[in-house]
Structure formats: C-alpha cells, structure tokens
C-alpha cells in the first residue's frame, strides 16, 4: 500500500512509515527522548531526501512528546518551571546552533565534524550511563539504598545567585546552570539535527540531581516546544516539511509513545537509565562503524537545486 508524498516527491509504503512511527514513538515515550536521532537516518535509508526527513521529523517528535508529556503530567512527573527555564536557554542555543551549522556547511566537511562529535559525545554519555546504572543495579541487588541523591554534596554551581525551588524535581538551584544546560542541549541539538533529549536527560539526572522519571517528563515537555518551533522554522526556511509524511509518522508516533510511556514508568529508574545508556551507546557505535568500514558505493550524488 503506497502513498505519494507531495513534498518529498516520491511514493512510499505507508505501512512501513506508520510502523517506523510506532517503533520510534515507543522509544520516545519510554525514555523521554525525541527519537530524531533514530528516525531521521531511517527515513533517509527508506529513500526520503535528507532535507525532507530532517524537516518533517520534528513534527512527529512534537506529537509523540506531547502525548508522552500528558501521561507524565498526570502523574505529576513534569516540572514545568524547570522546563520553561531550560526552554529559554534552549531556544537561544538552537539559534546559535543553526548559525554555526551554516558557518560549518560553508567551510565544508560539516558531515565529518558532526559525525565525530556525535560519536564522541554519545559514546561518553552512553558509557557513563551504563557504568552508573550497573553500579546502582548492583547496589540494589545487594539490598542497599540507592545513593544517587546525596544531600550533603553540593557542586560549585549551588553557590550561584538567582536560586529557584523546582518543586517536582525536588531541587533548589540557580537558574544560571539550568539555562546553560538548556543552551548546550539546544546548541548541540541544532548542530547535529537532533532533539537533544538524550543529552538533556543525563544532564538533569547527573548534574542537577533531578529524579529519573521527572527528568524524562520534563524532557518530553521541553521537546514538545522545541520541536514545534523547529517545524515552523523548517517550513519557513527550507520549505521541505512534508505534511503527508509528518501526519503518518505522528499517528504511529502517538500510539507508540503511549505504550512507551507506560513501559517507561513500569521499569525501575536504574533499569531505565541502563537501557537508555545502551541505546545511546548503540547509536554511537552505529555511526562509528559507518565511518570506519569501507562503504559499498564510494560515490554519492546530491542535487543542489531543490525541487523540479
């Protein structure tokens, strides 16, 4: 069963796209990540032009993260205050990232820089998360209390002014490092064409000491707004948002995200962190392998004039 995509200008198997939406939506709801880092490469693999894939995926992420966020919201696992402070930094970071993106593109070799930073960042975060969560799982197997939240240990940024109490997150911290995290995530997200959820969640968990479930809920909340903004920006800047593709992905995405959110809340926090660590590490390994192994076709052809 195939349907013609009016902007991508090619027919696709609608069930395949729908299935991709469900699968990535599930991961999105479970881990609170947008899933763009999985969806965009898969769509390109299916034959969708990269410009259309990159521009259409954000609306899918917005829909899945909204339905995931609603589910977490009901359980009071979304810290909207923290989310809004992150968002203010995130939007600035996104703008800066888009600017640097075009600078690098003009300088050439953008792909290499993106891929290398991708591998470096993801493998470090993935390894840290796996190591930490295995330790936590080990401790709980031994019957000890998890010691992730250490009330006595204060980092240097706890001395900064502009302190806020974020109730759901149970933290009392300055808005400055929170905005900085938002900025960093927005910057890297725009630069690497990803939502940045899997950067944000570890940062909230390990740097801000926010509980895992609240980190996931708040990340979904943030992803919703950044992805809505990205959809409009891509439509205006690149004219490559395909509404038929986006709608098909969305419908699949929200179905997957619902079950994913339930699955995410059913497993223990350490297990969730362990699984997310594995996922992040696997993506890094996949990108790394792609760079290290000899491609079957050494040549690639792109058309520099969009449209017909």
């Amino acid at each position: 069963m195939s349907i013609y995509l009016p902007i991508a200008e090619l027919p696709v198997n609608i069930l395949l796209i729908f299935g991709l939406g469900i699968a990535v939506g599930f991961i999105s709801g479970m881990f609170g990540v947008g899933g763009g880092f999985l969806m965009t490469p898969m769509l390109i693999l299916v034959g969708i032009p990269p410009s259309v894939a990159v521009a259409s995926v954000p609306s899918h992420m917005a829909a899945s993260s909204l339905t995931g966020a609603i589910s977490y919201w009901r359980k009071r696992l979304v810290d909207s205050g923290l989310g809004l402070v992150l968002l203010s930094g995130g939007l600035l970071g996104t703008a800066a990232g888009v600017w640097v993106f075009s600078l690098l593109r003009r300088a050439g070799q953008l792909d290499l820089i993106i891929n290398l930073s991708y591998i470096l960042l993801l493998s470090i975060i993935g390894t840290l998360m796996i190591v930490e969560s295995v330790r936590a799982l080990w401790r709980s197997l031994q019957g000890q209390q998890p010691v992730l939240r250490r009330p006595g240990t204060h980092s240097w940024f706890h001395g900064l002014p502009l302190k806020f109490r974020f109730r759901q997150s149970r933290i009392y911290v300055s808005a400055i490092p929170v905005t900085a995290i938002g900025f960093g995530v927005g910057f890297l997200g725009a630069l690497m064409g990803i939502g940045g959820g899997f950067l944000l969640i570890p940062a909230l968990i390990y740097l801000m000491r926010v509980p895992t479930a609240v980190s996931v809920g708040t990340s979904l909340f943030l992803t919703l707004f950044t992805m809505l903004a990205a959809t409009v920006l891509h439509a205006v800047e690149n004219r490559s948002v395909d509404v038929v593709l986006a709608f098909t992905l969305m419908i699949g995405g929200v179905i997957g995200a619902q079950s994913g959110a339930r699955a995410g809340q059913a497993v223990r926090a350490e297990q969730l962190r362990f699984l997310l660590g594995i996922l992040v590490f696997a993506v890094a390994a996949r990108v790394g392998l792609g760079l290290l192994t000899k491609p079957i076709e050494l040549f690639s052809v792109i058309s520099t004039e969009a449209g017909g």
């Binding site: 195939s2 349907i3 013609y4 009016p6 902007i7 200008e9 090619l10 027919p11 034959g47 609306s59 899918h60 917005a62 829909a63 899945s64 993260s65 909204l66 339905t67 609603i70 589910s71 009901r74 070799q109 792909d111 290499l112 290398l116 919703l224 992805m227 809505l228 959809t231 409009v232 920006l233 891509h234 439509a235 205006v236 004219r239 490559s240 948002v241 509404v243 038929v244 986006a246 709608f247 969305m250 419908i251 929200v254 619902q258 760079l291 290290l292 192994t293 000899k294 491609p295 076709e297 050494l298 040549f299 690639s300 052809v301 792109i302 058309s303 520099t304 004039e305 449209g307 017909g308």
Partner: protein, 255 residues
C-alpha cells in the same frame, strides 16, 4: 555572357542541390504519444507512456536492405549534481573529492533498438548525444571517467537514469513503438523527448516533443501551500502535531 551567367547559375543550383539536399532529412517522422501530461495524485507510483512513430517518405519499401536505427531520449528538468567520493583519512571514510555537473537532466531515459555504439562511428554518438553518458553530460565532463561513471551508476541505481538497448520495437520497417517509463520518484516539471532515426550511420529524421509531469488535486495544493504560504503551512503542521498529540493523550486515558 548571358549564357555563361545562366550556366553558372545552373552549376550553382546543381552544387546547392548536392550540398544542401543531404543536410535536409530524406525522411519525415510522425510521432504520437499516449499522453502529454502525467498527473500525480496520492496513489501515483509511476507510469509509462507509449510512443508510436512512423517514418514517412521512406524508400525502405523499394530498398529492402535499408535498416533504421532509433534513439529516443527523455530528459527531465535540468539540475546541478554534485558527485562526491569518499576517501579513507585517519581511518575514517569521509567525503573528499567532488565534481560539479551543472545543467544535467534530473531524469534521463535512453531507449534504442540496438546499442548506440552499433549505429555508426563514435562521432555519431557524440554529435547526436546518443546513450546515457553523452545524453547527460558534455564530452569534457565525461572525460573524468571515474566521477562521470559514478554519477551514471548512482542515478541508474536510484532508477532515475534508465537505458534500454532493445526497447524500440519495429512493427513494420517504417513503423515503431516504445514504452517510456516514468518512475514514481520522477521529478516534476517539463520533460523533453527527442526521437532520432538513423540509417547507415546518418541522421535520417528527427522529431522533438514534450510532456509535463505535474501534481494534481491534494498533492498540488500541499506543494503550493508549502511554497507560497510558508509560515501558515508551518503553523498548520505544528498545530496538526499538537492536535494529534492531545487527542491521543485523551483517547488513551480512557482506554
């Protein structure tokens, strides 16, 4: 004096006849295409056009040894391709060298009755742009074989470049038929179709026609909205995402 003038003009006319006549085609070509507009709607997965052509004013009926060769070249809207080659640098496979191919057809199909190399000498292929390579690229670009061959190979794999050397069927010695494929991934826009008929390595007749590949109905509306009312279109898609997310959140609460 008058006589000499007349003789000279007769000679001139004779010369003109012998020099000019071979340049004008001996035969005429009459073509008919099943459609000149390919309409793309939501269930479009590609289509094919049927071309019939008749070679008129032919002496093939008298001259039984006469044999025609046909090349049908379909060119989609021109674009600029960039071909990149990956090299291993510090263990990583990265894009290294690249070549630009301006004014190259985004879609190309070359249909012939036998390989164009058998039509006549190589000059015939370069002069009349026969075959994928000559139809797509200028001779100077073809010389860089590694990159130009890669371009043709990649486009063939994508199904956007297509070559068939037994796709023209002669129904009678002067009437032939060919099926032109238009794949689902075909770019929209105007397509040029050139039909060339050769006999004994000489162009005997040619005819050009055109088709248009256009989106229709909903597809045309979406494409137009995305192009002309960008902000509204973007806000519309964002709103759609918001609605889908909210509705799903409410529906699944009851379930």
């Amino acid at each position: 004096m008058i006589l000499r003038k007349a003789a000279a003009s007769v000679a001139m006319a004779t010369m003109l006849f012998f020099f000019v006549a071979p340049l004008a085609y001996a035969e005429r070509l009459v073509t008919s295409l099943s459609t000149h507009r390919v309409l793309i709607s939501s269930n479009f997965t590609g289509t094919s056009l049927v071309l019939f052509a008749s070679i008129e004013d032919s002496d093939a009926a008298k001259d039984k040894s006469k044999r025609y060769d046909v090349a049908i070249t379909v060119r989609g809207p021109a674009t600029t391709f960039v071909t990149r080659k990956k090299e291993r640098i510090l263990g990583f496979w990265v894009n290294y060298e690249s070549r630009r191919y301006p004014d190259t057809p985004s879609y190309l199909a070359v249909l012939t009755n036998r390989p164009p190399a058998e039509f006549g000498p190589l000059e015939l292929q370069t002069k009349y742009k026969l075959g994928l390579a000559f139809a797509a690229l200028s001779p100077s670009l073809i010389q860089d074989k590694e990159f130009s061959e890669a371009l043709l190979r990649v486009k063939k794999t994508e199904g956007l470049y297509y070559e068939e050397t037994n796709a023209v069927t002669f129904l009678t010695p002067t009437l032939f038929r060919a099926t032109l494929p238009i794949p689902g991934t075909a770019p929209t826009g105007p397509y040029e179709i050139d039909v060339q008929v050769f006999s004994n390595g000489v162009l005997a007749a040619q005819q050009s026609t055109a088709i248009e590949v256009v989106k229709t109905g909903f597809e045309a509306f979406v494409a137009q909205s995305a192009r002309d009312t960008r902000l509204d279109y973007g806000l519309g898609v964002a709103f759609l995402a918001f609605v889908v997310g909210t509705v799903a959140g409410l529906v699944f609460r009851r379930a």
